[in-house]
């Protein structure tokens, strides 16, 4: 199985340890593997899970069980546990990550390992976020796509029916992003400044989710601008906040609180917030809803 993750910065052995603690997934009613349906729907997938609960690897490189976490995201249990997504382009690695093949009766499904030290979204999922709202068939706008490493996983999750609009301003990263987008047809690469959404209005339709990982001091304004232009009513946003980037002198909690306040003033209602310990330091992820439908008065 995956032999542990290489963190980008210093070594963090806590990654796997923290993972072990997440055995309480079932307790939260999220995992379907303990029998509870919770938020893991689609009998097809859980059916796979149930079947393979006790299967053992048949040959090298194949692992034991692949378990569903959020829709489209799985945990592979074996010698070491890993977060994986189903590979849309079978046989290819995007950034050198490990690939795992699982046999399902006749067919073989390939999964790609998702490193939580390199991807904020993976860190959020492993940290226990309730809902990421990125599901198969969703239209996602990804601000701050960089070289396309996390974008490829999002593309795996939304599948061929969904769409990922990946916005990245840097030219060097843009080149890598373009290469990733060549292989995956549900990624639309946009090499533009996210601060001016009107510049790429020709390429984008309405989206269901905005994911932002831009690391800019005015990132709330950037997300708000894009939301006003492209996010549908009742759509969701997932923002990764780096406290150091917004204000390096203030305390992280104060920074997160001020960002949440800014969001509320732009008609973006935050619903949950969690920090990305132990994968990142002084980082938080805020999930919320945009223009929530008015509550029915009883």
């Amino acid at each position: 199985c995956v032999a542990g993750f290489s963190p980008r910065g210093g070594g963090r052995g806590g990654g796997r340890g923290g993972f072990g603690d997440r055995g309480g997934f079932g307790d939260r009613g999220r995992g379907g593997f303990r029998g509870g349906r919770g938020k893991c729907p689609s009998p097809g997938i859980t059916g796979v899970v149930m079947q393979h609960k006790h299967s053992r690897p048949t040959h090298l490189g194949v692992l034991g069980t692949c378990v569903c976490v959020c829709v489209g995201v799985f945990i592979c249990r074996g010698k070491e546990d890993a977060l994986v997504t189903k590979n849309m382009v079978v046989g290819e690695s995007v950034y050198g990550e490990k690939r795992i093949s699982v046999e399902e009766g006749e067919t073989k499904i390939e999964y790609r390992a998702w490193n939580p030290f390199r991807s904020k979204l993976a860190a959020a999922i492993l940290g226990g976020v309730d809902q990421i709202h990125i599901k198969p068939g969703a239209k996602v706008m990804y601000l701050g796509a960089a070289s396309g490493t996390t974008v490829s996983h999002v593309s795996d999750i939304v599948g061929p029916e969904g769409l990922v609009y990946a916005v990245e301003f840097s030219h060097r990263s843009g080149r890598d992003l373009l290469n990733v987008a060549k292989k995956r047809t549900n990624i639309i690469p946009i090499i533009e400044d996210a601060r001016h959404p009107h510049k790429y209005r020709m390429l984008v339709g309405m989206v269901d989710v905005i994911f932002a990982d831009v690391a800019q001091p005015d990132q709330t304004r950037i997300v708000a601008l894009n939301a006003h232009n492209f996010l549908r009513n009742g759509g969701h946003f997932v923002i990764s906040i780096k406290a150091n980037c917004i204000d390096s002198t203030a305390a992280p909690e104060a920074v997160f609180a001020s960002e949440v306040k800014k969001m509320s003033s732009e008609n973006m209602k935050p619903q949950e917030q969690l920090t990305l310990e132990p994968y990142e330091r002084d980082h938080a992820v805020v999930v919320g809803i945009y223009r929530p439908p008015p509550k029915q008065k009883k």
Binding site: L163, H171, G174, R175, L178, A181, K182, T185, I188, P189, I190, I191, E192, H198, K199, Y200, R201, M202, L203, V204, G205, M206, H228, N229, F230, R232, N233
Partner: protein, 541 residues
């Protein structure tokens, strides 16, 4: 009111059927919940499809820049022809201004319009009939790819990345070359160590090794085109009496290969340097003229790009490359460095150490101007750089002859120099300083005069301790002969500073004391002196 809506497939012009709905901005979305409801609010007047991807790409680039493309102009002219009095709602205020200027159509952009655009976007397929959703997404995918590729290819700042890469490669090559040469020397040194010491030039060494192979071939081979005659003779001599080991054919073959590599890399390095020089002259001629190709390339590489470098003020250009020293000095509140990479420019190198700081500042100021001219100017000629360099060189010459020109005032008047008068000074040697032991009365008198002189130089604390000790011991023996040796030693150590201050007075007292016994016959005095000397010696022992 008309609405202009841009899509990847083409331009769409809608007509607003019910303008009153636009007044209620907050509930506008309710009108667009289904395609039927949407069609009640808006009607598609005209849809101008893009003929092919090139047209779409042109339209998209025009949109990004906020200009009117050809196809948009065509569409708008059609509208002007039909309905001149209607307002046009658009998503980009800047574009609206341009349209108003060029085509005289009044445009409107407001929060209500923005909300309307949102709603249209959410119901795009319902409103634009005849265009299935898959088509739109396929077209937007294709358009996005071609737009991105266009952006990445045509980046005007990419031209200087060649410089950055070339200079990095040059540094890498130097490092590798050094490693290989060291390895070659060491390896071949096992066989013929003397050659390493005789032939110091690396390239000549490798070529020689390649030619001779085993050292037994040295006598027979002709090294005249590689080495000068004397060195060749030395090599031949050393080969006879060499104390290196024997090596086999295979070993020699491998060493030869390594030498081949070294020679190849050296030749490539020369080629690369030429290439770098050409590129620098082409991209930044003024910078090249001011500081030279290598320093100019390093500055560009340090800043990341020519445009980035142009954004730096002259003070930053002066200390680019000395960041560690700069921040250390800023943190500890010491003096900041005076030069960074610019130190290696020829203008700074050829001045005296005193003037390097001044020249570096002046050079940085003019260089910053040259960089900005190169990065942002239209024509690429080196006139400005040449002029500035001439100015700098003139000022440099002025600095060197600073003594002749007056510094204060206008600096134009010549400083007044005193007329030369020849003062002849002849110094005679004074032998009285040869010995510190006072002897005859005559000499004593001189001593009296001299010894205060001797003592005074000794009053500062840092004077030779030996002289002090002697004076102290003399004083001790003179003052308190009954004191125990221990106490004396203690006194010596403790009261040295006191003695220093009191020495002048005490010496004179000592003089008087000495005078008293010395009024006796000289022999007696001498004896006493000898006694004293003996006592001193006993004390010292």
């Amino acid at each position: 009111m008309l609405v202009l809506f841009e899509t990847a497939a083409g331009y769409a012009i809608f007509k607003v059927l019910d303008e009153s709905k636009l007044q209620q901005v907050d509930s506008l979305y309710k009108e667009f919940e289904t395609p039927e409801k949407a069609n009640k609010v808006l009607k598609l007047k005209h849809f101008e499809k893009f003929q092919d991807t090139t047209e779409a790409l042109a339209a998209a680039t025009a949109l990004v820049e906020g200009k009117i493309g050809k196809s948009l102009k065509k569409v708008l002219k059609k509208i002007v022809a039909k309905e001149a009095h209607e307002q046009l709602a658009i998503s980009d205020a800047k574009l609206g201004g341009v349209i108003k200027d060029k085509l005289d159509i009044s445009c409107v952009h407001s929060p209500a319009v923005a909300e309307l655009m949102r709603c249209i976007r959410s119901q795009m397929e319902g409103l634009i009939t005849g265009l299935p959703a898959r088509d739109i997404s396929a077209m937007s995918l294709g358009l996005a790819h071609s737009l991105s590729r266009y952006k990445l290819k045509f980046s005007p700042d990419k031209v200087d990345t060649m410089i950055v890469q070339a200079i990095s490669l040059l540094d890498d090559l130097d490092k590798e070359l050094n490693n290989y040469i060291m390895r070659c020397r060491e390896w071949y040194g096992w066989h013929f160590p003397e050659l390493g010491k005789i032939v110091t030039d690396n390239l000549a060494y490798c070529k020689t090794v390649r030619k001779i192979g085993d050292r037994t071939n040295v006598a027979g081979s002709d090294l005249s085109e590689l080495l000068p005659e004397e060195i060749e003779a030395e090599v031949k001599l050393a080969a006879e009496i060499s104390m290196g080991t024997e090596v086999s054919e295979q070993d020699i073959a491998n060493i030869s290969h390594l030498c081949d590599q070294v020679i190849e890399i050296t030749e490539y390095r020369v080629q690369l340097y030429d290439y770098l020089k050409n590129r620098m002259m082409a991209i930044a001629p003024n910078l090249t003229v001011m500081v030279g190709e290598l320093v100019g390339a390093r500055l560009i590489s340090h800043a990341g790009s020519l445009l980035n470098l142009a954004k730096h003020p002259a003070s930053t250009v002066q200390i680019l490359g000395a960041e560690k020293a700069l921040f250390r000095a800023l943190k500890t509140r010491k003096d900041t460095p005076k030069y960074g990479l610019i130190y290696h420019a020829s203008l700074v190198g050829q001045t005296t150490a005193k003037n390097k700081g001044k020249i570096s500042r002046m050079l940085a100021a003019k260089t910053a101007l040259a960089i900005r001219y190169d990065a942002l100017g239209e024509d690429t000629n080196a006139e400005m750089g040449v002029e500035n360099r001439a100015k700098l060189e003139a000022r440099l010459r002025q600095l060197e002859d600073k003594g002749i020109r007056r510094i204060s005032g206008t600096g134009k008047a010549m400083a007044k120099a005193d007329k030369y008068t020849n003062i002849s000074e002849v110094k005679i040697y004074d032998p009285s300083g040869d010995s510190t032991i006072p002897s005859t009365s005559k000499k004593r008198k001189i001593e009296e005069v001299e010894e205060p002189d001797d003592a005074e130089p000794a009053t500062p604390v840092s004077k030779p301790k030996k002289a002090k000790k002697e004076l102290v011991t003399e004083e001790e023996t003179a003052e308190a002969p009954e004191e125990t040796p221990k106490k004396k030693k203690k006194k010596k150590k403790d009261k040295k500073s006191e003695e220093a201050a009191e020495e002048a007075a005490e010496v004179e007292a000592k003089e008087e004391e000495m005078e008293v016994p010395l009024t006796e016959s000289t022999e007696k005095k001498k004896k006493k002196k000898k006694k004293k000397v003996k006592e001193e010696e006993a004390d010292d022992e």
